[in-house]
């Protein structure tokens, strides 16, 4: 098991009234999300994960230590003290 920090931003932060939380997980993103939902509530899973397609929702921005998971190759294995930042779709200029 590893201990990781999840950081929430924008509308996710206001919805869950949480800026950051520490969760233990087996190192996979799905397990991390499931364990986080035990603290934040079950709807957190659907906010981040597409159960039908069995992967992270395409519109969400998830960064592990500042790297977007879409830019990382292979299966993602989380390590102790990794920081996972989760953003809803957003933009600016």
């Amino acid at each position: 098991m590893v201990s990781v920090k999840i950081m929430l931003f924008a509308t996710l932060r206001s919805k869950y009234k949480t800026r950051e939380l520490t969760v233990a997980c087996n190192g996979t993103l799905l397990n991390m999300i499931e364990n986080a939902s035990k603290i934040l509530g079950p709807e957190f899973v659907d906010d981040v994960y597409d159960k039908k397609r069995g992967k992270i929702r395409d519109d969400m921005i998830i960064m592990v230590n500042g790297r977007n998971i879409k830019d990382l190759e292979g299966e993602i294995t989380l390590k102790d003290n990794d920081v996972i930042a989760i953003f809803p779709p957003l933009a600016g200029g």
Binding site: I61, N65, D71, P88, P89, L90, A91, G92, G93
Partner: protein
């Protein structure tokens, strides 16, 4: 002026004291809080003693195909409302929502671009702005997105009644590049920029350059005339804006912009600008494509010219790796060409988070009666971009000026997810010139003929 001109739908574009005093970064303010912000247009008006342009009118705009236009507009409006960025993100948080994500990606310039990681980013973020000084949102004329922020600082040394903004760029330039973490001071400094007619990007970046020059001991203290320009000094930030607009004390130096300022004090490499225009809020060592855009944008260090931050960080329209240099040239070119279309049809760039070239071709065709395809409209964009380039070539700008400050090319990013990276500009530039049909930053005769540009 509105009373003097009278009529309904009266609108004013004017300069403030900064433009009257011909500050290099003076802008033209449009109806109080929006601006033709960059490149010192306010100083140009000031030099001609033109204070304002006031327009008023009640005629209807003729449309070639009103029914078609109505159908296409409705479809586009629905697309804007249903898109999570233009329908939820921007209206809820405004543009300052970018502070945390760009910082997380390691690309939020801090302390005049010494690094791309700001330890106090949270304090000046869009989330914090929404919790503290935000009163309501505001829309530009006719816009369904309404990303504008109406803000107020109720008490304290930086109290203001009401203002619009700050936007992401303003927060970054006035708050992150200067390392000022007091959001109320940033709100006030931005308010001064609106009231006095200054571009907050160039203003903040010039102040940050002065802070670095001063901390390194390059500015004689008597020049500063009491302005304590050190990173993080919130009071000095606000005072510096005022002194720039009115050319008071050290303001006389700040008024010149960072390029001339750094040259005067013997360290031109500390001006974080391209072709004299200070770069906006994205570090190319962490987001390489925007670096190519900064280097090749016709008006200098400009992000909106070709906003590849959209695919590189936000994943719109698709996700590309910000740390890779390969393949960026084609993105920069297409964004630059399409942006020319958006600018030329006088629309907001934010519509492009939900609409594409095909939508623009249909909208323009319905209004004008022309029959334009997606490819044709992008060709028009390419022609505009090349014509702009021909004009700057005539003023002596070419490939040698399509570059970036030495810090971004040679000083590896010291920390964060982009640690160790430099911009790799030459690699991207080679690919870009090939795609553009340019040699050393100059369009070839064949390219100009293909675009039917006759000189």
């Amino acid at each position: 002026m509105k009373k003097k001109v009278g009529g309904k739908n009266t609108s004013v574009a004017c300069i403030g004291p900064a433009g009257e005093n011909m500050a290099y970064m003076a802008c033209i303010m449009n109806d109080e809080h929006r601006a033709a912000g960059r490149t010192g247009l306010g100083a140009v008006m000031g030099s001609k003693k033109l204070k304002a342009i006031v327009v008023s009118g009640e005629e209807k705009v003729p449309v070639a195909n009103p029914q078609r236009f109505s159908e296409v507009s409705k479809r586009c409006l629905d697309a804007l409302k249903n898109n999570p960025v233009t329908g939820v993100g921007l209206p809820t948080y405004g543009t300052a929502i970018l502070i945390n994500i760009i910082n997380t990606a390691g690309g939020l310039p801090y302390r005049n671009w010494q690094t791309g990681v700001n330890p106090d980013a949270e304090k000046i973020s869009g989330e914090t702005l929404a919790e503290t000084y935000l009163i309501s949102r505001r829309a530009c004329w006719g816009c369904p997105i309404a990303c504008g922020r109406v803000t107020s600082v109720k008490s304290g040394p930086f109290q203001i009644l009401a203002s619009e903004g700050p936007e992401y760029e303003s927060v970054w330039a006035l708050g992150s590049s200067t390392a000022v973490k007091d959001l109320d001071a940033v709100v006030k400094a931005n308010h001064f920029c609106d009231e006095l007619g200054l571009d907050p990007i160039s203003m903040g970046s010039t102040i940050a350059a002065a802070m670095e020059l001063n901390e390194r001991g390059y500015i004689p203290q008597e020049d500063l005339q009491g302005l304590d320009l050190r990173f993080g000094n919130a009071a000095a930030l606000v005072e510096a804006v005022w002194r720039t607009a009115y050319r008071v004390g050290f303001g006389k130096y700040l008024t010149l912009g960072s390029k001339k300022l750094c040259e005067i004090y013997g360290h031109p490499e500390l001006s974080m600008s391209v072709k004299g225009l200070e770069m906006p809020a994205y570090d190319p060592r962490a987001i390489k494509g925007i670096g190519l855009n900064y280097a090749t944008a016709n008006r200098g260090g400009c992000h909106v010219t070709g906003y590849t931050v959209s695919p590189e960080v936000l994943g719109i329209p698709e996700k590309i790796d910000p740390l890779k240099a390969e393949g960026k040239a084609k993105w920069v070119k297409i964004f630059q060409d399409f942006t020319c279309v958006v600018n030329s049809t006088v629309n907001c760039l934010f519509t492009t988070f939900a609409l594409g070239a095909k939508d623009y071709a249909e909208l323009l065709s319905a209004v004008t009666g022309w029959d334009l395809t997606e490819d044709e409209i992008l060709k028009i964009g390419e022609r505009i971009y090349n014509l702009e380039r021909v004009i700057i070539n005539k003023y002596g700008f070419d490939g040698k000026d399509d570059t970036l400050p030495r810090r971004l090319l040679e000083e590896p990013m010291p920390e964060g997810p982009a640690k160790g990276q430099v911009t790799e500009l030459e690699k991207m530039k080679e690919e870009y010139y090939k795609l553009r049909g340019w040699v050393n930053g100059v369009p070839t005769k064949e390219k100009l003929a293909e675009l039917e540009i006759e000189l």
